[in-house]
C-alpha cells in the first residue's frame, strides 16, 4: 500500500516532539523545558506576538509542533467554553471550537471556567473546564468525543470552581473531579471518552492536579494529591499502587523529579517510592519550604517554592536545608517554569521576572511587564515563553524555525 506522502508528512509533523509542551507544567509535569533556550534579557522587544482571546482563563497553553492550543470561557455565566488553536509562527487563529457548558460554571471571581489546563498526547487535544465538560479534538479541531462529567454526576462541582488539570497516560485521560460532595477521579478512554474506571475520592474541595511518575517496573503511574495525602494509581485501572496518608495541600500540586515526589504536605515533604505496594520513604520534610498557590519546582539539586507574596525559597533538594530566599515582586499564583537553568516567574500583575538561581541568593536578571493580570502558569516551547491572561496570549521569545 502506498501511503500518501503528504499525509505521512502531516502525521510526522503533528506527532509529539520532545520540545512540545503537552500539559500543565510541561510533558514531565515538572515545569522544565528541555528544548531551545529562552532569552533571559526580556524587554518589550522580546514579544514575538500577542493576540486577543475571546474569553477568560487561567489554563496553560499547550504547544504541539506548529500549533498553540488555549482554552477560554465567556458569557455572562462563563458558560461558553472555547478551545482555540493558533499558529505558533505568527499567532494567527487556525481554528476555534465553542461548547455550551453542561455543568455548573460558578467560580470565585478570580478564576473562571477555563481554569484547568488541557493536555495532549501529541495527536489529540483534551480540554476540561471547571464545569467538568471535557472535549477531545484532533489537532485540526475535529471533535472526537465529548463528556459532560458535571451533567453525568450532578453533584460533582465546586461553588468556588474546579481547577484540576488533565494528564494522559497509557491511553487514559485522568480527570480529578474532587470536591466536597460527589468526589471522584475518572480514567477516561482517550479514544472514546468512556469511563475506563472511576474511583471515589475524599469529599473535600481539591484544586490540585495529578502528576505523572514512573513505577518500579518502568510503567507510568499517576499521583493523586488530596487533603488526605497522595494516592498513586495505575492509569489503566485506577488501582492504588501505594499511598501517603499524612495529609497534603489542596492547592499547590506535587512535583516529581528524579523519581522523587515533592509533596506540598506539612510544608514540603519529599517521598521516595518503595517497592510496589510498600509505603514510600520520607526523605525530608521542611515547614520553611511551604509553597503558596504555586507548585514546587526542582532544578538539579535545588528545589524552589514560592509563597503567595512572592518570596522565592531555594533549598538543597537532597536534605531540604534552605539555602536562600529572594523577594520577588508579588503576589503570585502561577507556578514558575524553567529553561536553560533560569526561572521564569510571572506574578498576578503580569510582571515576568527572570531569575538566575545559580547566583548566590538568586538574582533577577530581567523583567517584562505585560500589564495584565496573570494567574495561570506559563508554558515553554520553541524557545519561547507563552503567557496568557483573561484577554491575551503572548509569545515571548525568538521566532524559532520549526
Amino acid at each position: 500500500m502506498k501511503l500518501p506522502s503528504l499525509g505521512l508528512a502531516c502525521l510526522l509533523a503533528l506527532s509529539a516532539r520532545a520540545d512540545d509542551w503537552t500539559q500543565f507544567r510541561g510533558p514531565a509535569g515538572n515545569g522544565i523545558a528541555t528544548g531551545p533556550k529562552l532569552p533571559t534579557k526580556l524587554d518589550t522587544g522580546s514579544v514575538t506576538w500577542a493576540v486577543d482571546l475571546p474569553g477568560r482563563g487561567l489554563s496553560s497553553p499547550v504547544i504541539i509542533g506548529d500549533r498553540v492550543f488555549v482554552t477560554a470561557s465567556s458569557g455572562a455565566r462563563q458558560d461558553r467554553l472555547h478551545v482555540l488553536c493558533f499558529n505558533l509562527a505568527d499567532g494567527s487563529l487556525r481554528w476555534e471550537r465553542q461548547f455550551w457548558a453542561t455543568g455548573r460554571t460558578m467560580t470565585h471571581e478570580k478564576i473562571s471556567a477555563a481554569t484547568p489546563s488541557p493536555a495532549s498526547d501529541g495527536r489529540r487535544i483534551f480540554a476540561i473546564f471547571s464545569s467538568n465538560d471535557c472535549a477531545a479534538l484532533d489537532l485540526d479541531g475535529d471533535l472526537l468525543w465529548y463528556r459532560g462529567l458535571g451533567r453525568d454526576y450532578p453533584n460533582a462541582s465546586n461553588s468556588l470552581g474546579m481547577s484540576s488539570s488533565l494528564v494522559v497516560a497509557e491511553g487514559v485521560l485522568v480527570a480529578q473531579v474532587e470536591n466536597d460532595s460527589e468526589s471522584f477521579t475518572a480514567g477516561l478512554d482517550a479514544a472514546t471518552g468512556l469511563n475506563r474506571w472511576k474511583i471515589d475520592r475524599p469529599k473535600k474541595a481539591n484544586w490540585t492536579s495529578p502528576s505523572l511518575l514512573k513505577g518500579a517496573d518502568g510503567r507510568t503511574l499517576v499521583a493523586l494529591q488530596s487533603s488526605k495525602g497522595v494516592a498513586v494509581v495505575e492509569p489503566a485501572t485506577g488501582k492504588t499502587v501505594w499511598s501517603y496518608d499524612d495529609g497534603a495541600s489542596t492547592v499547590p500540586s506535587t512535583t516529581v523529579s528524579d523519581g522523587k515526589l515533592y509533596v506540598p504536605s506539612q510544608g514540603l515533604t519529599v517521598l521516595e517510592p518503595a517497592a510496589t505496594g510498600q509505603p514510600p520513604k520520607q526523605l525530608w520534610r521542611s515547614s520553611q519550604m511551604r509553597p503558596g498557590t504555586s507548585s514546587p519546582l526542582v532544578l538539579g539539586d535545588r528545589v524552589f517554592t514560592m509563597n503567595d507574596g512572592g518570596i522565592l525559597s531555594c533549598a538543597d533538594a537532597t536534605d531540604g536545608k534552605r539555602l536562600w530566599q529572594l523577594r520577588l515582586k508579588g503576589p503570585f499564583s502561577a507556578t514558575p517554569v524553567s529553561a536553560g537553568g533560569f526561572l521564569y516567574c510571572v506574578n498576578e500583575k503580569g510582571l515576568v521576572q527572570v531569575v538566575d538561581p545559580s547566583k548566590p541568593d538568586g538574582v533577577v536578571v530581567s523583567e517584562l511587564d505585560l500589564a495584565q493580570a496573570v494567574i495561570g502558569t506559563p508554558s515553554i516551547a520553541a524557545g519561547s515563553l507563552f503567557v496568557r491572561s483573561d484577554g491575551k496570549l503572548w509569545r515571548i521569545g525568538r521566532d524559532s524555525a520549526l
Binding site: R97, W100, T102, S159, D180
Partner: protein, 376 residues
Amino acid sequence: MLAHRPIRALCLASALTLTSASAATPSPLAGALRELREVAAEGKGNVPASAAWKRVAAADAKAVPVILAAMDGANDYALNWLRAAAETIAQREAAAGRALPVAELRKFLADVKHHPKARRFAYELIGRAEPATARALLPGFINDPGNELRREAVQERVDAAAKDVATDKAAAIAGLRSALGYSREADQVDDIAKRLTDLGEKVDLQAAFGWVTRWKLIGPFDNTGGAGFEKAFAPERSIDLAAEADGKNAKVRWVDLVTKSDYGLIDFNQPFTGLKEVTGYAYAEFWSDKARAAQVRIGTDNGWKLWVNGKFLFGREEYHRNTEVDQYRVPVELKAGSNTFLVKCTQNEQVEDWTKTWQFQLRVTDDLGTPIVPTK
C-alpha cells in the same frame, strides 16, 4: 446548573424528521444527525457519533440551518456535537470565501420555536457574515424566549439609558425601568436595580426576583460532625406544623418567618441565633393556578436538600465556598393548587466570621427566569 429539562420538547417530532430548513425533503445528513442526537450520559453513543460527526462536518454551508434545526429537543451533550459540526463548516466556508446562507439563517432565527441556543448561534453566524444586519436585529429580541438574545437586547437598552443619564434623566429612568421589566438574569436585574437606585428611584427587588418570602422554620436539630445531612429528622418523615419535635438539645416547634430581605434570605440565625453544627428546616406552601413545569432556584452556602410535594429532588453538602442568586436550578413539575416546599439547611463546624451564615434564598421561575409568583 442542574436544570436538565430539554427545552422546546414540542419541537422534538419535527426535529427528528431532520428535513432541510427550506423544504420538506429528508436531509442526506439525517442518519448522521440522528447519531449525534443519540449521545447520552457517560459517553453513551460517543463512538458512532464520532464517525457521524465527520460526515456532518464535511457538509457545505447549506447544511448549517439543517444542523441547527437538529438541535430542537436535543439533549445538552448532543447540542455540543451539533454546534461543533456547524462551527467547523462555518469556519471552513469563511476561510474559503464562501458565503453562509444568511437568508435561511434569518428565517431560522425568526422562528422562536427553535432551540434558543441554536437561534443564538444562528444570530452569531449572521453577525459574522453581515454585522450590520445582526445589529439591526438585536432590539427585536427584547422579549425573546432565549436567555442570551434577550440579555443582549436588554443590555443594549441599559447602555442606551446610561448614555441618557447626563442629558435626559427621565429618559434614562424610563429606559432602565423598561429594561428591568424584560431582564430575566439575576445579575442583570441586580445591575439595573442599582442603576435605578443611584438615580433616586425605588426598586422592589423582592418583586423583581420573585422570592418566596413566607416560611415556617423549625430547628435546631443536630449536625455534629456533619451527620445531620443524611439523618432524617422529624420534618422529613411528616409535616405537622403544630407538633413538637426532638431537637438538638430540647423540644423544638415551627415558627413563622417572613423575610424583608431584598434578596429573599431566609436566615435560620434569626430565630435560632448563631449556632454551629445544626440542622434547620423551612416549609412553605406555594399556590399555582395550573399544573406547569418550573424551576426552583436556590442560593445558599450551607448544605441543603429540597423536597417538593413530599418528593426529594436534590441536595448538596458543601459549606461556605461561595453563593449567588440562582446558584442551583432544580426542575420541578408544579401541580395545580397547593404545592409544598421543604428545605433542609445544615450548618457545619467552622468558626470563622464568614462561616456564620445559615440561610438560603428560593424563588420559582420558568426556564427563562421569569418569576412565578403564587396566585393565592
